[in-house]
């Protein structure tokens, strides 16, 4: 615990030093604030436009969460089918790699053209980029069950349903969480990318992606920084939420989830 506090203190000191250097550099080099605003201005922008920022934060958060949750459910279902039907897996698995390699910025306009401009379309963009890591990891978890364990179940005349519920699904859980962790990092990127093309997803208000475009056009660089800051916080909160659930489900039995000493 002491070690953790120490780490947090170190991070805070580095952050404060960074802000100081930034402030000093902007003042000393006479950089115009529309190019690089000093951190004080960014702080003021956060304070004065907080309701607006908070709304954008939530809109993007909702879209990212909906897309991520959808990809968890959808990815797990596809993984279950892949685990059951090896021929289908061999046939379709290459396409899941395609899902990951197609640049999302290139297909986002298409998706928005087909699915409309709303929250649903943004969530759909998120869903698509989150899907591949979940399919890949969950499938791996479902099929990599130890042969001896499988034979143990067969010795007791276990049904396919029992093997799935009592063996394959629990065994795949740590693998699934690896996938979700990767996807949680890109979910926010997906939502913001979607919003860049979607415009405002609610009348009069937009998500972080939309607001970034708007602030850039208006040369509101201080607010632009505030939005970047909010996007970072959103990404972090997704990542840590997933980490929390991973810990909740795995800490009792799995080697990967050790609450203490893992940072050393």
């Amino acid at each position: 615990m002491k070690k953790k506090l120490q780490l947090a203190a170190n991070a805070a000191i580095v952050f404060a030093a960074l802000l100081l250097v930034w402030q000093a550099a902007v003042l000393a080099l006479h950089i115009p604030p529309y190019m690089l605003p000093p951190p004080i201005n960014v702080g003021r922008a956060i304070a004065t436009r907080f309701p607006e920022l908070w709304a954008s934060f939530w809109i993007s958060g909702e879209a990212a969460a909906a897309g991520l949750l959808g990809s968890i459910v959808g990815g797990l279902l596809i993984a279950l089918i892949f685990a059951r039907l090896p021929w289908l897996r061999r046939m379709l698995f290459p396409y899941t790699i395609l899902l990951q390699t197609v640049p999302i910025v290139a297909i986002a306009p298409l998706i928005l053209m087909w699915a409309g401009q709303g929250l649903f379309a943004v969530a759909l963009v998120t869903f698509i980029i989150c899907l591949a890591p979940i399919i890949a990891n969950a499938t791996q978890g479902l099929i990599s069950v130890d042969t001896n364990l499988l034979q143990l179940f067969l010795m007791h005349n276990a049904s396919q349903g029992q093997i799935l519920r009592k063996l394959r699904l629990p065994h795949s859980l740590p693998y699934l969480f690896v996938g979700i962790r990767i996807s949680s990092g890109i979910a926010v990127i997906g939502a913001i990318t979607g919003e860049l093309f979607a415009g405002s997803t609610r009348v009069g208000q937009g998500g972080l992606g939309y607001s970034i475009l708007y602030a850039m056009a208006q040369l509101q660089t201080d607010y632009l920084f505030a939005l970047v800051f909010a996007a970072t916080i959103l990404g972090f909160s997704f990542f840590f939420t997933v980490m929390f659930f991973e810990w909740l489900f795995l800490h009792k039995w799995h080697e990967s989830a050790r609450p203490e000493g893992s940072e050393s």
């Binding site: 130890d146 034979q151 143990l152 179940f153 067969l154 007791h156 276990a158 029992q162 065994h171």
Partner: protein, 255 residues
């Protein structure tokens, strides 16, 4: 007494692929109810495969195997398998690992809990009933595995080098324990090991296999009375049998 043998091998041959040389060839072996038979041999002689055949986990290529007069697959209700590794489910605590086999056979929860409690007491694991496998030592894990195997009250126990991963002291202790448990359970055991001393200590009969392909080279009756205790290892009779078995094993390996 019924005249149906517990396990019957009749001219059994096993190949994993049609083009491969056989792993086992011409195996004839009859094991009566209540015997403790150990298959002894170097690695690769097919002794683990023999267990898998009896469990119905692998098909035979030719010949016949019967377990209590039944096809192996249909006799699984009577049989429990103890694997070389403890093969516990890491997400279940000790108690629920032992209860697994009972759950799979759809026993009532009450029955399962009662049986589990009794078994944990029997193998001396009551204190760690709520622990997860990762917190257990190798010996404790193996005890859980054995308790789980005994939960369904099998008549026949198939044990595939269950103590190979333990150090010598723990292995000896587990050997004594398994004999003690058998006094109460009276199961038939087909046991696989490559330790001569373990084979002699446990068995009523030792079957020595020779490799490439696996065949039965010798059979030794171990006429030492049960119950056997740790002192047995210091007797001349025990030494003589170990030496005899070692010699036959070396010969089988050379042949």
């Amino acid at each position: 007494m019924s005249t149906i043998p517990e396990i019957l091998f009749r001219d059994v041959t096993k190949r994993f692929r049609a083009a491969d040389p056989p792993v086992l060839q011409g195996i004839d072996l009859t094991i009566e109810r209540g015997e403790f038979v150990t298959l002894l041999g170097p690695s690769g002689c097919g002794k683990s495969t023999m267990l898998k055949l009896v469990a119905g986990l692998e098909p035979i290529t030719s010949g016949q195997i019967q377990v209590n007069g039944l096809e192996p697959k249909n006799a699984r209700r009577l049989v429990s398998f103890v694997f070389q590794e403890a093969t516990l489910l890491p997400w279940r605590n000790v108690e629920r690992n032992v209860a697994l086999a009972l759950e799979l056979e759809a026993r009532s929860r009450e029955d399962a809990l009662q049986t589990t409690g009794r078994l944990l007491e029997l193998v001396g694991l009551t204190d760690v009933a709520q622990s997860y496998p990762r917190a257990l030592s190798g010996g404790q894990k193996m005890r859980v595995s054995i308790a789980r195997a005994l939960a369904t009250k099998p008549r026949l126990l198939l044990m595939d080098e269950p103590f190979a991963a333990l150090d010598e002291i723990n292995r000896d202790r587990m050997n004594e324990e398994i004999l003690r448990l058998r006094e109460a359970g009276n199961w038939t055991v087909l046991f696989v090991t490559h330790s001569v001393a373990e084979a002699v200590f446990l068995s009523s009969r030792v079957v020595i296999l020779s490799p490439h392909p696996g065949r039965i080279a010798h059979t030794i009756s171990i006429d030492l009375p049960y119950p056997r205790t740790a002192n047995l290892r210091e007797t001349v009779e025990f030494d003589t049998l170990v030496n005899q078995a070692s010699r036959l094993l070396r010969e089988a390996h050379r042949a």
